[in-house]
């Protein structure tokens, strides 16, 4: 199954894939050209097409929004689980997810990837939040999560970009619990 040639092919194929992930995450779908990816991987542009078929196929394999653990238990517990999931996303730089995130506003496939991933989590989480406006609560928890990830990894906002992940989640803990099962207050500052 693995002659010397096949081995070599697998190695360059893997090199191309990580180069693609890196450039898609840094530049987005349109600006990360096949030529640039090939150069980053020290490979020939023709090989990229031969191995992956098309740029879209390559992107599909390089970008992924990834799955989260399902949330369980009470709204209090669900809030904590979503909080630690966020902490992981802040701690490391998930290149596959960043590739999808950076491209989602300009590439339809990337948008589908992110959107479908988010609504799936949303639906699953909604069952473990306060029953009034559960879907909106779940959507807002997703919005806060993606906002924090964007602010840190893509926008690199002062303060957020370099803070310890635990400090961020410590500051957001109250907010998550409020959204998950807090009462709805119209204006009683």
């Amino acid at each position: 199954m693995s002659s010397r040639r096949a081995e070599q092919r697998n190695r360059t194929e893997a090199r191309i894939l990580t180069a693609a992930r890196k450039l898609f995450a840094e530049l987005g779908y349109d600006r990360a050209t096949i030529r640039a990816i090939a150069a980053e991987a020290d490979a020939d542009p023709g090989l990229v097409m031969r191995y992956f078929g098309s740029k879209d196929d390559l992107f599909a394999r390089a970008a992924a929004f990834g799955d989260d653990d399902h949330v369980t238990g009470t709204p209090e517990q669900a809030a904590e689980q979503l909080l630690t999931a966020l902490e992981h996303k802040l701690a490391d730089e998930p290149t596959e997810a960043l590739a999808a995130l950076r491209s989602m506003f300009t590439h339809p496939d990337a948008l589908s990837e992110v959107r479908s991933g988010m609504v799936a989590r949303q639906r699953q989480a909604a069952g473990h939040l306060a029953p009034d406006d559960a879907d909106l609560r779940a959507g807002l928890l997703g919005a806060v999560t993606i906002g924090a990830v964007i602010a840190r990894h893509l926008l690199r906002l002062d303060g957020v970009a370099d803070a310890e992940p635990e400090r961020v989640t410590a500051l957001l803990r109250g907010a998550f619990h409020e959204i998950a099962y807090g009462s709805i207050r119209s204006d009683d500052a």
Copy 2:
């Protein structure tokens, strides 16, 4: 100063500008081509260049992150002010801002526009929040705000996209106050 010809020119120039805003907001910088913008405005592609100089110049005039009112007073009051600012952003579709937002991950100029606008607000707001970790608090309030706007207008998340703006802010009220001046809790769900 305004002959009939000059009037006509101003009118098509304005038509081109609103067409540019629309397409930049819908497609992003790269995919909104000058030809498509001209077609949308029922004008000639050459005119677009003649009136605005270059695509970059056109984008600079079409996309803007906009200014918010300065926040004032106590942290409680600041939280309320930021909340009503968010409510406005949810209520209408600010095409200029959406053009900048959609392009910020793939076009350097758009990123600068958004980033500089956000850090300016952040710095201004930080002075009116709880003094411990004020900059991080301000950054997170910005992250939550941009996350909500993205979820509603760009991602069109279920629940968030069609909810009444007041319901969204009512649900986020507790979260904003927690982030603005809540105590830092490490894990006492």
